[in-house]
């Protein structure tokens, strides 16, 4: 894999100002994404993975606000901070260079327009071509995502299609302008396993063919194992561990990652007991001080309750945010 950076996220902070208080949905999140890789953000409900992915192009609805950080996007050997761009400049990038695939295809498609029109719409917004040409391109795109009989399917409205079909249309919309980055937020969560396998195959092929960078957000460890090159595990609004996929599964370091992996039943092995993580996810209005995992962590030390763990390199490209791996921890605590 070429080590050419395409996205550099630094200290991203997203807050939601609600009546119950300020929800610190994403705090101090930093990671890099390299060109051509599948970078996966995993975590459970409410860990901030979706918010992080949307913050990358400032798609955070009110009452949410990006409170700080930088999202550096590399192109033509220079970089721009996506968080500093004007709305017009950003619109040039959204859907063109950085495209999204959202979780629920029924909500992503407009029920009043045909699938062909919705694909063509995205092309016309960014290119100077006629609707007729864009329509032809839509047919080609439906072929790419393996929809049978695409000439007829472009005339279909969303309600005439199954969930799997709709998600294929959404994927083809994201592909319409040959984006450099596709951000896929739980693209297969609402479909059956056999459809999921087909959609993942399509994403894999596209990425090989066009060398597209994919940021894959999911809660499914199986999908991560099949698709990702590198993985960032999130917990309660923070990244706890970043590593290549084989490292994450073979040598998970953070107690949360370890617990998460042991809680997933593997259908190919005989499991006597599933391990589980005791307790529940903390409230992000008043997150626990120090490491946010400390109330549920069996290895919690004094320092974990006081200070945020720094990123610690524990192997090649393997970073963990945990005091257990800090060399001089005894002296400090």
């Amino acid at each position: 894999m070429a080590n050419e950076k395409i996205l550099e996220v630094r200290n991203l902070d997203v807050r939601f100002y609600t009546y119950a208080g300020v929800v610190k949905a994403v705090s101090n999140v930093s990671f890099d994404v390299y060109k051509g890789e599948v970078f996966s953000l995993v975590g459970e409900t409410g860990c901030g993975k979706t918010v992080t992915s949307r913050a990358l192009t400032r798609l955070i609805p009110s009452p949410g606000q990006i409170a700080g950080g930088r999202v550096l996007y590399y192109r033509n050997s220079e970089y721009i901070d996506l968080l500093q761009l004007s709305e017009e400049e950003l619109n040039e990038i959204r859907g063109n260079e950085i495209a999204y695939i959202f979780q629920d295809p029924t909500a992503s498609l407009d029920p009043l327009y045909t699938s062909g029109f919705q694909i063509a719409e995205g092309i016309i917004a960014h290119r100077d071509i006629s609707l007729k040409e864009a329509w032809r391109k839509a047919v080609d795109l439906l072929k790419v995502v393996l929809i049978p009989d695409p000439e007829e399917r472009v005339k279909n409205y969303p309600h005439e299609m199954s969930g799997g079909m709709k998600q294929r249309v959404v994927i083809s919309i994201s592909l319409a302008n040959n984006p450099r980055i596709i951000i896929a937020d739980e693209p297969t969560t609402n479909v059956d396993v056999t459809i999921q396998a087909q959609l993942l195959d399509i994403l894999r092929e596209l990425r090989e063919k066009y060398n597209t960078t994919v940021i894959l957000i999911t809660h499914n460890m199986g999908v991560v194992a099949e698709m990702a090159d590198r993985v960032a595990v999130m917990y309660a609004g923070k990244i706890v561990e970043v590593a290549p996929v084989f490292e994450i599964f073979k040598r998970p370091k953070h107690p949360y990652t370890q617990g998460l992996l042991r809680a997933v039943p593997n259908p190919l092995t005989k499991i006597e007991r599933l391990a589980h993580i005791p307790g529940t996810v903390p409230n992000l209005v008043n997150p626990p001080p120090g490491c946010r995992f400390n109330p549920r962590c069996q290895f919690a030390m004094d320092i974990c309750k006081k200070r945020d763990p720094p990123p610690i390199e524990v192997g090649p490209n393997h970073i963990v945010y945990c005091w257990l791996y800090e060399k001089g921890k005894e002296a400090e605590s």
Binding site: D192, L200, V224, E226, F246, H276
Partner: protein, 324 residues
Amino acid sequence: MNNTLIKVNNLVKYFPVRRFLFSKDYVKAVDDVTFEIRKGETFGVVGESGSGKTTLGRLILRLIPPTAGDVYFEGKNVYKLKGKELLEFRRKAQMVFQDPFSSLDPRMTVFHIIMEGPITHGMKIDDPEEFVVNLLRRVGLERIHLHRYPHEFSGGQKQRIAIARALALEPEFVVLDEPTSALDVSVQAQILEMLKDLQKEFNLTYMFISHDLAVVKYMSDRIAVMYLGHIVEIADEDELFEKPLHPYTRMLLSAIPIPDPEIARRKKLKEEVIGEPPSPINPPPGCRFHTRCPYEMPICRYKKPSLMEYEKDHYVACWLYEKE
């Protein structure tokens, strides 16, 4: 073997859907299904959405009337039960639903939710409060939760309450309909472990319905695979994964993502996963899987294969395995 708890004979359920003004079509949700559930086992039912697995669970508990066929519980026909006997069946056979947000009444406290069943059935309980607290402890909740309302709980806790409600009636048989699919994996693991412990403690028989093959395998002794209202294969849990016979089972198995990157990337060559399940309204004739099956033969298109015992305790409904 006389340890059969539930026997299902040629069970059928069609739901009518109005098409045009006078014509009617039917969703063939469950179509001619026959199997047994043994005492003390966990019988897993796996299938994709629309395969009829939930309908099957509801039919067995007589929550909906069947179109045809019978269900026997401890040798008695469930659909012919009346009066006291029916009430007794309603107590012995319980259900835990998929969505704990809608299966608990938001206007009742935990205490009332759990006591509603025992009161209806006139169970003699000396100290209701102690009774409920004991149940709550068994499912990992505490006395402080007694007088709270459902909205004060997380999804996992709600599912614990739903389980406690089922246990309050001292059931023998519990249908678990996707009990963990609304939950996160770490919570799912807690609930699954608890269900296994409770099964041992109370000698329960489970019917475990799920779309997640890994979870079904982890929980079940035997597994039935459903496709569009038919059972296509029944086998012991390890047998089904090691020697799947039906092409659909094989397709399902190669479609599940394995949480291990080495295996996940090696397995690519197995069964190719193609097509989408057709609509259960007017499903394809013959074997319902023939439209997606790589081994389709002429006979598959018009004649339904019946479920037959291919090897001991391994049933399959597929013309490929028909002996003559």
